[in-house]
Amino acid sequence: MKLTTRQIDQLYLFTRQHYVEYYDLQTELVDHLANAIETEWQQNPKLTFDEVLNKEFNKFGVFGFMDVVESRQAALGKKYNRIVWEHFKDFFGIPKIVLTLAAALLLFIILKASTYQEWTIIGLYLALFGFTIYEMIKSQRQRINKKKLQQKRWLFEDIINQYGAFSGAILLPFNVLLQIYNRIDSYVTNDYFLLAISLVLVLLSVILFIIFKLIPSKTQTYLKQTYPEFKLENL
């Protein structure tokens, strides 16, 4: 006996009730459960839909779908990090490396000439910090709206919009900066230090640009590449 469309919808609902929020994972699990139920019915035709469903769900173990969701998250998180890394490497290939180094050098010259070096450094860092917070709040709002509209959610899309594991790491240099600030007088007179901080600020800007602008602008491409079903859904 084949499952009806209504029963398939019931299975989608079942996965949602068991904390599978993402459509890509729901689809795979629904097909699995449907196959298992159809096979079971061949042997025990008298069992009801719910009975067979519970029997099959129990096979996933005490944590239900959690293992599957977590492993998928980890796998796609790795994929995201790889994409960021690829883009980052791009900035060190010809011709972009010229731009990267020129920006660092320009910043160095400005810092060296400036009378308010420490304030320039802090100011630039705060600008990056502010930009990060602004972008995070913006995408958080969009995500909440999407949830309200009950649109299909794709795990990889959420990872892109939540910036993988980087979101925490972006704010990390703040502590380092405070440390440096306490001893800034002895540092700013050192050319190597100025050069290093110019480079760090430029690299930080590059990473922020990649994860907040570059990759989100290519979301559709990455989703199509990750999910063949994405094309079917969005025809």
């Binding site: 499952l3 009806t4 699995h32 996933f60 599957v68 796609l76 079903e229």
Partner: protein, 120 residues
């Protein structure tokens, strides 16, 4: 009780080979979907080996993220089905892993069942 024990024993010993089993099956059958893999393993081993759902999908997702597997979607009946198949890298890796597994089996064999020494 004994059934449960058997399952536990299975998962311990076979865990390390799950990826190899999946890749070998995909090499033989072209493309397969998750449920099909569990059934195939059951059929080949005559019910001795039962790949649990909680282990299969994490393994598939990991192999996919590593670029060893590629996915395809087809509409079957009234639902969508996700098929897995080996990528080119996956095919090469499959050869390596199989020969590694064969070495392992051979070594285990000689450890568990030492053949009598021929020289006296």
């Amino acid at each position: 009780m004994s059934r449960k024990y058997k399952k536990m024993k299975n998962s311990q010993l076979y865990k390390g080979s799950l990826n190899t089993i999946i890749m070998k099956l995909l090499e033989e059958n072209g493309k397969m979907y998750g449920y099909e893999i569990t059934q195939k393993v059951k059929a080949i081993t005559q019910g001795e080996l039962n790949i649990t759902e909680g282990a299969l999908y994490p393994a598939l997702h990991k192999l996919e993220a590593e670029g060893l597997l590629d996915v395809e979607i087809e509409k079957v009946d009234n639902r969508m089905r996700k098929y897995y198949k080996l990528t080119e890298t996956g095919q090469k890796e499959n050869v390596n892993r199989l020969s590694e597994l064969e070495d392992f089996i051979r070594n285990m064999q000689s450890l568990v069942n030492p053949s009598p020494k021929l020289e006296f």
